[in-house]
Symmetry: D2
Subunit: 346 residues, 4 copies
């Protein structure tokens, strides 16, 4: 059994890790930490876990956490994972960071978007970007995995095969995402209370969201060229789910059949990509509570543009499920172990 420690177990992604790992046949939780709930039991914070998971929450004695774990999941706000990652490396343990600290390869870009000096710029190159559909081999060998952001997961998975083949113009891309509120976290704010979110649709971060440079970095790597994206996220009143509608200019005339083949080839070994049948469009509720990413596309010949739609569960494939998929890969297990089940629908 893989011994798992989770640092920051009481946020939504931490608790989702606990829930997913409860059903994993080869992993067991050895330690959960929480600054705000030290000494309490996780089942008192997340009563859905009662009768299944019974684990008290430790404070953050990192040395101990690392010593008793084979892998540490870090589910903390950005800026806090460097000390843990360093200690884990020294101890020869693996670490999967669900935060943003190891996603961007350029410490300057990190500083620009997150407002912080990076605490370990020399380690950035060591971290694999944990999107298994693109970086399987890197993840296998990595000691640090930077788990992707929720928006980048859906947007990159929609675009990568087409940028890889050069059929869309890398500077023409627009990604319009609609997200549920669990992505905004558990801390109460003026904008995540029920009354301010219910019966509403609205964009945010219109003048630039932190997940954009991450998309551009990874898609630039795929494309071999600079990629520019207009990315606008929107809040819609659902708990889980991100739907991304992505628009790109075609570089040449292609048929739907060719594009379908490009997707199928690119994702031939990927157990969680579902390319839907023609004219069936991704619905976030079809992936809710699952690790799937649903995809489809439409070619508008008259306008020479392709529309791609992707749907994921932001807490699952967009965070904790993907993190477990990465763990599987890092430990030589089938990547879908403990993860291959249908979403909760309805």
């Amino acid at each position: 059994m893989i011994k798992v420690g989770i640092v920051g177990a009481t946020g939504y992604t931490g608790a989702e890790l606990v829930r997913i790992l409860h059903g994993h046949p080869k992993a067991e939780i050895t330690v959960l930490t929480s600054r705000s709930h030290e000494g309490e039991n996780i089942e008192d914070i997340y009563p859905n876990l009662r009768g299944c998971v019974d684990h008290s929450l430790s404070g953050q004695d990192l040395d101990k956490v690392i010593s008793i774990s084979d892998v540490v999941f870090v589910a903390l706000p950005h800026g806090l994972s460097v000390p843990i990652v360093k200690k884990a490396l020294e101890a020869g343990k693996k670490v999967i960071d669900l935060g943003a600290d190891f996603r961007l390869k350029d410490a300057e870009v990190y500083k620009q978007w997150y407002g912080l000096e990076h605490g370990a710029p020399n380690l950035l190159e060591n971290a694999a970007y944990g999107l298994p559909e693109l970086k399987l081999e890197e993840i296998k060998d990595a000691q640090i995995v930077a788990n992707p952001g929720c928006f980048p997961t859906g947007v990159i998975l929609g675009l990568a095969p087409l940028l890889d083949k050069g059929i869309i113009d890398p500077k023409s891309i627009i990604a319009d995402s609609k997200t549920g509120l669990s992505g905004a976290g558990k801390t109460p704010t003026d904008i995540n209370i029920f009354v301010e979110c219910n019966e509403n649709a609205a964009p945010y971060a219109v003048n630039g969201h932190r997940h954009r440079p991450e998309m551009e970095q990874e898609l630039g790597w795929v494309s071999g060229d600079e990629v520019q994206i207009n990315f606008i996220p929107h809040l819609v009143p659902i708990t889980r789910g991100i739907l991304s509608t992505i628009y790109g200019g075609l570089t040449s005339s292609v048929e739907a059949g060719q594009v379908r083949e490009i997707y199928e080839d690119y994702y031939s070994g990927a157990p969680f990509i579902r390319l839907l049948d023609e004219n069936i469009w991704p619905h976030t509720r079809w992936v809710k509570g699952s690790n799937f990413c649903d995809l489809n596309f439409f070619i508008d010949k008259g306008r020479n543009r392709i529309t791609i739609v992707s749907a994921i569960d932001n807490l699952f494939k967009g965070a904790s499920g993907q993190a477990v998929q990465n763990m599987n890969i890092m430990f030589g297990l089938p990547q879908d172990m403990g993860l291959k089940f249908p979403g909760l629908c309805p």
Copy 2:
């Protein structure tokens, strides 16, 4: 492996059976039927199943269904299960009816509430009422199990221990239930469309709901006395979940500690009952996607009344999860096999 047939696989409870059985280690689906979708694949009706369940839908050739199944789940509207149950009995197969046809022991009461002559009144006594927390032994030996209604499940589980001990007056009971819309089924009507349900709370069937005689029958059996319930269901804009707030007059002075013990004793071997800590009240979202029934109570000494609150997922413990729990029992498996995992929260 237990070979399972599902008659009526494309309604919400049928599809939930498919989803739950996908994760069951000792059962495999052999046949799914659907009148309206014959020849299609279940994953086209429920795209959440894609990549997990790949099964085409047969028409209703009952003889064949029964011949290739060890157990048949019937997930049809009331009035339609008698022919299947008869054939299953003849063939020596087990049958679990998720509809209402075998719940009421008295064919006259059935007729009064469902408006139909019962097609096999002689079989009513043979059918075990499939609430394992009350009828474990009966279910073990039964060939026919009548899976309880969703409202009765939550209301009976809240009341049974107290009526068993005689501490509440059996004619004083009021059950005020709040249900999500999945209980209303998949057929579009004037009252289940989004716009008519969203931003709304309203009662229905105030002058008498079909689930009341079922509650009164089973609780009468527990109590040994006639039980009378004022039962009022309400629609609230959620997909899954029933919260029942139950009010009863106390027959004598009791302390909270005693009542807690009564619950703990009555449900000592029951893996899906969670009596919450004092002052923690059931939330439907804590049981969503799980087979748990959460319970708690409050004694109002001044008013000599007890308030009991129960929460279930109507499609899971209130229907398909409970049906699988019954299957486990009927086949000598641990009753929680394939069912013991936390709900999807958030």
Copy 3:
């Protein structure tokens, strides 16, 4: 024109007052105060008001507020209204308190439920309880009106006619209310964020809610006898609306027609009570954005009990609309002036 000041204009009830008064033909806002948003414009806090109301927010210079107002609405948390009420009285101005400080006539009961010594117990008798359907004459002559709580409004309106006639047992009453989240206010907390409220139904304050003594006080006054209520509020995922399902034991046999007449007589001059036709049950969405209280009832002869259902918009008839209705009465205007329009449905 009546000159109106609003103290605490940026909470939900304050902003709702602004919105309602914008359409009132005989009132004009002269001053809005806000501690947290002093100097800002109300339209920046509530952008729905843009283009209609353009008013900057003052700090709380109470003397000035009172000097330029004919009536002051106080929309502050409990415990804060006494100084304003005193100053208003001294200045000979009218005051309508939307908070709880002047609802309970007994300062001891106030202390018990609100945890505070009342700052002006001698004024309690001067304050009219502002439920116009019961206290029209008192309100006409009052200088202080204590605007009722949201739950008491719906529960009292459902029960008053029947307790007045003595047809229900005053110690048998159970009130099960379902409320939207706007009643929980605008301050972010662990329990009012979207993710914790969406897809959920749950009770709260099961062991005693502050609105219960208010109901018991006023209904005791109607009944002439002590009234005892088991009152359990529940949160359901809607923004506006309270549905109360009220259960009472009948003291004698009555027919539906008699009860209907009792309601019609009691509310003969009341413009905002709508007794629905037989078997049509109140829906919160039918009263959303309106000052109506919808009512209906069902007599269960076998159980000798009556079920009464009432629906209001908690911010409107349950708070700000009722406050404007009170203002109309205090200034000798028709009580429905500026208030008689249909709710926003769908």
Copy 4:
């Protein structure tokens, strides 16, 4: 008083007309028709209207309807308005069609998108496109007004000033709209029931929506050039509201201040356009229940693209409110009469 007839009063837009006209100082309803509810009272279909509007529903005796009305609002599905429009013209009465039959100027385009031969192609030129912010003078003189579609209203209002000035490339436009379910109408279908819409976001009509040619026609008229739009509508789980996020390539370098001026000039006399302050983004809940269209924009200089966001209430500014605005204009009244109030927020 203007005498108003409404043909098709029981759909959502018909009922919204009734609700709005109830508050209009210069209009009175003389006749409401309904095929499905002839003989019933509108307040029985829309109980929110009780106590305010008391009007029985006639069958569709068009001659009578027209003879007793100064203006007829037609709120029927497309394909049904031609006979009414013809009769109204003959009788010298004004008619406002909320359906699609008179929006497209080219009968061939109509046939292509709606699948019907147009019944009166010769009248198409007579019909004014009822978007007052663009066509005020035409509407003043028109006897037939084609009320715009809900999506075109929001998208055209966002784009018109910029296309008028030529600062965006007319072939570069993408409009990504998010709509509530009331736009899907009141007839129950497999896709508008609560369970299928709740907790979901999904696109539809990806391969071409009927509102696209309407946008292209009107914006082509504004631009003086052919306009091409990729328009993708999405369903989000709200009742009312359309948020449109619109992306366009800039033809030259412009500053935010210039663009702001362009909007202010273009909409200088328009009472329902609210250009929000910098960095404040339209929220559908700020316009819910109102006739406002909220707008804002962001220039991404690096990508040489502008993002425009508009929000309307699809039943109000996107249908019935705009229809009443058109009525006001046709009868020489101030265009905002009976319409200038804030939305219901929260």
